[in-house]
């Protein structure tokens, strides 16, 4: 069972990586959004350093919101979704596999590139490492909660901006603790509490999101 689930995850990752467009676009989106801010705010080093956590986190949030809508769409269009629903494995576990592979293909690149953006915004080494750790802890929650919304709108023809409206309010806690940890880092304050809260958010959403996502997918299938 575990082995076949790992195979599914692996296949998902390979398939996504083959379609370079689907994982490079969010990455480019993230980089361009972050680069717009210095141009809008002016090149002052102190200002940029002060607003860097907010810029990078909101940029990552938007990039993930943009890409998460596609997580079930191609499956739905090609009829794979019905196969998932009829599969011998529990739908919840299959959903979890898909989410893990989505995180690896769509969020990990963002996290890898983020230190580079940190340099552009004049973060020091300590802040850079906190940035990477906080993104590692925060982005899974974005994917998990986003999947619920994505599954809810999968059957709807023209959902356009509906998905961001549904899920962005739910992202607020992660945003707060993610940027909070970076603000604490730049003030040389202890970080354990922010990280602990983000870890708790990961666990809570890991407990609820796959279940609710598969329930939402079943609704779409009934349509």
């Amino acid at each position: 069972m575990l082995k076949s689930l790992l195979t599914i995850t692996h296949q998902e990752i390979v398939m996504t990586l083959r379609q370079a467009y689907s994982w490079i676009t969010p990455l480019l989106f993230f980089v361009i959004v972050v680069c717009l801010f210095p141009l809008a705010l002016g090149p002052d080093e102190n200002t940029l350093n002060k607003v860097a956590p907010g810029i990078i986190w909101v940029g990552a949030l938007l990039a993930i919101v943009m890409s998460i809508g596609n997580i079930f769409r191609s499956d739905a269009e090609e009829g794979h979704l019905d196969l998932l629903l009829l599969s011998a494995h529990p739908l919840t576990l299959l959903v979890l596999c898909k989410l893990i592979s989505h995180w690896i293909t769509h969020c990990l690149p963002l996290i890898v590139i983020s230190p580079l953006l940190g340099i552009l915004l004049h973060l020091n080494i300590h802040e850079e490492s906190v940035l990477v750790i906080s993104l590692l802890l925060g982005t899974p929650v974005f994917v998990l909660l986003g999947a619920i919304g994505s599954a809810l709108v999968v059957g709807i023809r023209s959902h356009g901006l509906l998905l961001p409206i549904l899920i962005m309010p739910l992202y607020i806690p992660v945003l707060i603790f993610g940027t909070g940890s970076m603000i604490a880092a730049s003030a040389n304050l202890p970080l354990a509490s922010d990280f602990a809260m983000m870890g708790a958010l990961v666990l809570i959403s890991l407990a609820f999101a796959p279940l609710l996502t598969s329930a939402a997918l079943r609704i779409g299938a009934n349509q």
Binding site: L152, G155, I156, I165, L166, P169, I172, F208, A215, N222
Partner: protein, 247 residues
């Protein structure tokens, strides 16, 4: 027990009958509470020693905020009933509650801003409670937007139910993270609104107004649920009979 509930509340036909019996009582209760709360709150409650007569906005602000949150709780419970027990009446209650709840949330924000202007000197501060209420409004909008684009009735009910449940799991997390954020960024806001204790003369009108707002919600909820019930049951004999009686 379940049978009794089914006879009076769960089946759409029974609910239609029960609600028409309940409505006059609810309207009376609302009128009494509202009249007392309004008159006592505006004219007889003593002026606050710090805020003067400005504090009288509390009698519309706190009840609307309280009702807005209570309605979200009602929505979440109805969502669970919809999803687990496939109860049609709960699904109707959930969708109707959403639009009423959004109105009360809007009202809480507007009255909060109007109160903030003379007290804090600004229409808006990123106070933890105000921010939470703003996010609550976004959650209501998300729910309404989701339901408005799904054409199929059953899918609409269940998708809305999931959204309501997700929202209610997140609301406390959002609330506490916003409090955390608030203290992190600004230092604790010395809220003048947080009175440690409140004189009975001030408290009674407030409780009456909270009751009045909840009764008003119940009245509007029942009125609009009845509309939805007859629409959904348009093909049944009982609706035909009720309608031919009415006209």
């Amino acid at each position: 027990m379940l049978h009794w509930f089914n006879q009076h509340f769960i089946s759409l036909k029974a609910f239609y009958a029960t609600s028409s019996a309940l409505l006059p009582w609810l309207i009376t209760a609302f009128s009494l509470c509202f009249a007392y709360g309004l008159i006592a709150g505006l004219f007889f409650a003593p002026a606050d020693y710090q805020q003067g007569d400005g504090f009288r906005i509390i009698y519309v602000h706190v009840p609307s905020a309280f009702t807005a949150m209570a309605i979200y709780a009602v929505m979440a419970v109805s969502g669970i009933l919809t999803l687990v027990f496939r109860m049609k009446i709960a699904a109707i209650c959930m969708s109707v509650s959403a639009s009423i709840g959004a109105w009360f949330t809007f009202l809480a924000l507007v009255t909060g801003a109007i109160w903030g202007k003379p007290m804090w000197g600004t229409w808006w501060i990123w106070d933890a409670r105000l921010t939470s209420v703003l996010i609550l409004l976004f959650l209501y909008f998300g729910f309404i937007a989701l339901q408005s684009v799904i054409p199929d009735q059953q899918s609409r009910d269940r998708a809305g139910a999931i959204m309501a449940i997700v929202g209610v799991i997140n609301l406390p997390i959002i609330h506490y993270s916003v409090i955390w954020w608030n203290t992190l960024h600004q230092g604790p806001t010395l809220s003048k609104l947080a009175a440690p204790s409140i004189a009975p003369d001030m408290l009674h009108p407030l409780l009456a107004m909270i009751a009045a707002f909840l009764f008003f919600y119940a009245v509007i909820l029942l009125l609009r649920m009845r509309n939805q019930i007859v629409l959904r049951e348009i093909k049944t004999q009982w609706v035909k009979e009720v309608m031919s009686h009415a006209s």
